[in-house]
């Protein structure tokens, strides 16, 4: 029995709070987008209404792509994210499968250690790690970040996959074992194909975290040619006290697109991964 009055009340009760949170979440992105489209005369004018773009232009995007290394940084970021994600998924499975399925002495301890390593934040490790990377001669190579990103992504993927693996029924594996398949065959041919949703969740997270990473990239990558987007934008579009606001906003927007795209395709997997760890409790 929805009367006209009830419907208005319902709409208000839903959309007042939800609308508030939506505006809060999206306003900075709106700001980023319109600033990237404004000509400098409008960007730095105090007299015009700053909520609207009067003369939209793509000049900042053109400048960003032609005058800076942005395309190269994007390529570097993508390459590093894909490699780091792949390494993390492979090593993560190698940790998670035995922990989820096998009984052996020390399994509990290893599981706890993996969880604890996942929670160790980078600022605790970056100084000694910088020294290690330098001694290995990996400074200013993409290899340095391809190797160091998985230090946080492997325990994370392992933890997420461990939770997922435990929800997969064991019967198929047991049947394969009875038919004489080795443990490795059972895992590769029977078990892993069942776990695609888990891999997608872990993969999106690893990819997103790789795109977001800043501290290791800032320390290990100091040449333009090897920089990633976050470091390139901060280090090269802010020169001393001079902020290239238009290009900064264009770079921030373009740099967010890969993550946003992947996320929009797999948002359900993302939410499932986000909530699996805590809701299981």
């Amino acid at each position: 029995m929805v009367t006209g009055h009830g419907r208005v009340e319902h709409t208000l009760r839903v959309w007042l709070p939800v609308g508030f949170f939506l505006v809060l979440a999206l306003l900075p992105f709106y700001w980023m987008a319109i600033a990237s489209l404004k000509p400098n005369s409008e960007l730095y004018s105090a007299s015009v209404n700053s909520l609207i773009v009067y003369h939209p232009t793509l000049k900042h995007y053109a400048d960003l792509l032609s005058e800076t290394g942005f395309l190269l940084w994007s390529w570097n970021t993508m390459l590093v994210s894909v490699v780091a994600t792949a390494i993390s998924l492979v090593l993560g499975v190698m940790l998670a499968y035995p922990l989820a399925r096998m009984r052996f002495a020390g399994a509990g301890l290893i599981a706890m250690t993996v969880a604890a390593i996942y929670l160790v934040p980078q600022p605790l490790l970056f100084l000694p790690l910088a020294d290690v990377i330098n001694r290995l001669g990996l400074g200013n190579t993409l290899t340095s970040v391809m190797l160091t990103y998985p230090t946080m992504l492997v325990p994370f993927s392992a933890w997420l996959l461990l939770g997922y693996f435990k929800t997969v029924p064991k019967e198929l594996e047991e049947a394969a074992r009875i038919d004489g398949a080795s443990r490795l065959q059972t895992m590769r041919r029977i078990f892993l194909p069942l776990c695609t949703p888990g891999f997608i969740s872990a993969g999106i997270f690893a990819f997103t975290l790789s795109q977001n990473e800043f501290l290791y990239a800032l320390i290990f990558l100091t040449k333009t040619s090897v920089r990633t987007v976050p470091v390139g934008v901060i280090a090269e579009l802010i020169r001393g006290d001079v902020f290239y606001w238009g290009q900064l906003m264009a770079g921030a927007l373009l740099g967010s697109i890969p993550v946003a795209l992947i996320y929009s395709f797999f948002v359900e997997h993302y939410v499932a991964g986000l909530t699996s760890g805590s809701v299981k409790a």
């Binding site: 700001w31 969880a115 970056f126 000694p128 910088a130 998985p150 230090t151 906003m249 946003a260």
Partner: protein
């Protein structure tokens, strides 16, 4: 008869015995497990375990960058304790973590309750609300930097429009306002994580409980206080521990927005360790500052790990 008695199997067996026993050995659960985990465990030992121990060693050394170090015992930690900036950093980090976590907890709960209603386009709204959390922090912080820019701040234009005298507050130039700014931006970024996780928790509360409470005459607030909150408590605890760990050790937001300034007003452990270790090139002293995070972090990490094991 003679053909039948040919010992076919007897001939085949000795030839197969060794591979078969190797296969059997490999098939043992413990052997298979440790062989499978060897590579990832070695990887983590080399790039997490070793740097961690090496960091402790570094903190006991005077080690200028690109020079050999000398062992100085606890001298770096004594230097830290006599450094007024260090204490400022400690207070900043606790204030930043405490206030931001509280805001995220309360705001996230409100967000979850707002989203836990029936309305159209809910999935799209949820996806949009999560955007601050998934967009690379550095890039969204740049947008905030522009919104708080001393000369062109949109926030100030709005405030002046509302009647505040020009030129409006200097968000990143005033020590207190700078701290408020980094707390607000950290909250803005972390709120969706809280909200969406708590929403998932809310959806697991059986509706019968609310119906029973309503029949017993419970008001909306009472239903929230005595049904919702107790059931959400484990999730709130886990999300909070997660959030506290990563807020406590935050680096990128502050590095980009204020570099720890003005006058170290927003300097946190991570950014200060970076300034000393990378900026001033004092690896040993920097490592000692970073290690000062360890007691609090270790406590939180152990608590969360134990809690996840108990409930997982």
């Amino acid at each position: 008869m003679t053909i039948r008695s040919e010992p076919l199997i007897g001939v085949a067996r000795p030839a197969r015995r060794r591979p078969a026993s190797l296969a059997a050995w490999l098939d043992r659960e413990s052997v298979f497990s440790w062989l499978m985990m060897a590579l990832p465990l070695l990887f983590l030992a080399a790039l997490v375990g070793y740097p961690f121990c090496y960091g402790i060693l570094l903190s006991l050394m005077n080690r200028p960058v690109a020079q050999p170090g000398t062992f100085v015992g606890l001298q770096n930690f004594i230097t830290d304790f006599h450094d007024p900036v260090f204490w400022r950093v400690a207070v900043n980090t606790f204030v930043y973590t405490g206030v931001a976590t509280l805001l995220k907890m309360v705001g996230g709960l409100c967000l979850a309750l707002a989203m836990n209603q029936n309305f159209r386009m809910k999935n799209i709204v949820r996806a949009l609300l999560l955007l601050p959390f998934i967009v690379p922090t550095v890039l969204s912080t740049v947008a905030w930097m522009w919104m708080l820019d001393p000369a062109f701040s949109v926030v100030n234009r709005l405030l002046i429009g509302l009647g505040m005298p020009r030129p409006g507050p200097s968000w990143l130039g005033n020590p207190t306002l700078a701290m408020i700014s980094i707390i607000v931006i950290n909250t803005w970024r972390g709120l969706p994580f809280y909200g969406i996780t708590l929403l998932a928790g809310l959806q697991t509360v059986p509706p019968e409980l609310y119906e029973a409470a309503t029949i017993d005459g419970a008001s909306g607030w009472q239903r929230f206080r005595y049904v919702t909150l107790p059931l959400l408590q484990p999730i709130i605890l886990i999300v909070t521990l997660f959030s506290v760990i990563f807020t406590f050790a935050d680096f990128q937001l502050v590095y980009v927005l204020t570099h720890g300034g003005p006058q170290n007003a927003t300097q946190l452990f991570a950014t200060y360790a970076f300034d000393i270790g990378m900026g001033a090139g004092q690896l040993g002293l920097g490592a000692s500052v970073a290690l000062m995070m360890l007691p609090a972090l270790a406590l939180l990490i152990v608590a969360l790990t134990l809690y996840m094991r108990r409930s997982g």
